[in-house]
């Protein structure tokens, strides 16, 4: 994805890999880094989707899925950027800290439609658990998506659609 050229408000239909993780997995990654100096998931070049899937119905690689509130994880955003995460996807307005970090690291934040989980399920073609299966829905998952509708919410210049 041409992250550097995207402007806040621009829509994107994203196809490609995503790394799904949310509050608990990020907290554990940070604790792991503090304890051992390394982490069990390579985050370099990944796009992180803040989400926790429902149980998969028969015939689907993953269950109903959709973005969770991003601002809850703003304090852990720099950790992700420093390990090479390219962008994050979630829902809702973030704190000024997130905007500042997007500018400093030249990274973007996207919003995905929330409360649209049944429709988004069909956009996920492949899924596997990358780490922390004991966290159940909060484990780290690698997924492959096709035509996931997104809106650029914070671009690399720090323009934020929620503050326009």
């Amino acid at each position: 994805m041409r992250i550097e050229t995207l402007k806040a408000g621009e829509t994107v239909l994203y196809s490609g890999p995503l790394c799904i993780m949310r509050d608990a997995a990020q907290k554990r990654l940070i604790q792991e880094m503090e304890r051992t100096g390394k982490i069990s998931v390579d985050l370099e070049g990944r796009i992180v989707f803040y989400a926790g899937p429902a149980k998969a119905p028969p015939g689907y690689p993953i269950g109903a899925i959709g973005p969770t509130t991003s601002s809850r994880m703003d304090k852990m955003l720099e950790f992700l950027y420093r390990r090479g995460v390219l962008a994050t996807i979630g829902k809702g307005k973030r704190t000024p800290l997130a905007t500042e970090l997007c500018v400093r690291y030249r990274r973007a934040y996207f919003v995905a439609p929330s409360g649209a989980a049944a429709a988004l399920t069909s956009k996920i073609v492949k899924a596997s658990c990358l780490a922390y299966p004991d966290l159940a829905t909060e484990a780290v998952y690698a997924v492959e998506v096709t035509n996931l509708p997104l809106i650029t919410a914070i671009d690399v210049t720090g323009t934020d659609i929620f503050s326009l």
Partner: protein, 265 residues
């Protein structure tokens, strides 16, 4: 409890028709996928939202009903069976602070029990997501506070944070009682049907005025500025202490997944 289980599945997979009308009129960002979602969820019995909530039950039990087991146990079994059988999400953890170990089958539900006369049982319930729950607020207002202060608290809360909780929102307001009763009433208010008003004219006017004011905030669907900001405001009041004016605000996302099941003899 089959009827309660069926109502739980319905709340998770079928959008309330009066909310669907608002969705159908919406033409802004993500309009197509939100409408597609409503249809797919209904047709394939998939959850409207991956956050299939914590189930909150407000039960009114007639005094002459003798139950075979505690209601908490019956409801917990019903929630476990339903969430075990459908592709919903198990969103509960066993302990909130130290370990947060995930639990299976989305138990326990939150159960509140009230008593009334006669031989009946009414269960009102909410399927309440975490994103909207994080906007719950309690304010210990001074007893001399006026209605403007109440309105300002609601407007300020939604104005600052409404975009995070999947608007257009439903607002429940509990006024009076003591702190915990006010919050309980705010939650109970979220179970009331769209378009209904408080029977006390002062509170009915407060609800209407707040709904009007909230909709001038132009937060819109998904917080992206198009469409309504709030779909409903309901209030519940209680007597209170001379020194207090408790105000609790509870917020629900646009789906407002809820139901009422009544058993009568």
């Amino acid at each position: 409890m089959t009827r309660f289980s069926e109502a739980l599945v319905r709340a998770n997979t079928e959008l309330d028709p009066s909310i669907r009308e608002h969705l159908e009129r919406y033409q802004g960002p993500f309009a197509d996928i939100l409408k597609e979602n409503e249809r797919i969820a209904r047709e394939k019995r998939l959850p409207l939202c991956q956050d299939t909530g914590l189930v909150e039950c407000f039960c009114t039990l007639g005094q002459s009903v003798a139950l075979e087991e505690p209601l908490q146990r019956t409801l917990e079994a019903a929630v476990a069976n339903t969430y075990g059988a459908f592709p919903f999400r198990d969103s509960t953890v066993a302990e909130p602070l130290f370990r947060r170990t995930p639990l299976k089958d989305n138990v326990p539900p939150v159960v509140h029990l009230f008593q009334t006369e006669g031989k009946m049982l009414e269960i009102r319930f909410l399927v309440k997501g975490g994103g909207s729950e994080n906007l719950s607020r309690y304010y210990a207002l001074e007893p001399s506070a006026g209605v403007e202060e109440v309105e300002n608290k609601v407007i300020e809360l939604v104005g600052d944070n409404g975009a995070m909780s999947c608007p257009p929102l439903h607002i429940g307001i509990g006024i009076g009682g003591f702190s915990e009763k006010a919050m309980l009433n705010a939650k109970l208010a979220l179970t009331y049907p769209l378009g209904t008003r408080h029977k006390h004219p002062d509170y009915a006017q407060l609800e209407e005025r707040l709904l009007r004011k909230l909709n001038t905030l132009t937060i819109g669907f998904q917080g992206l500025g198009v469409g309504p900001t709030a779909l409903s405001v309901h209030t519940v009041y209680e007597p209170t202490h001379i020194a207090t004016l408790p105000l609790a605000i509870a917020v629900d996302c646009y789906l407002n997944r809820k139901g009422v099941v009544r058993f009568e003899d």
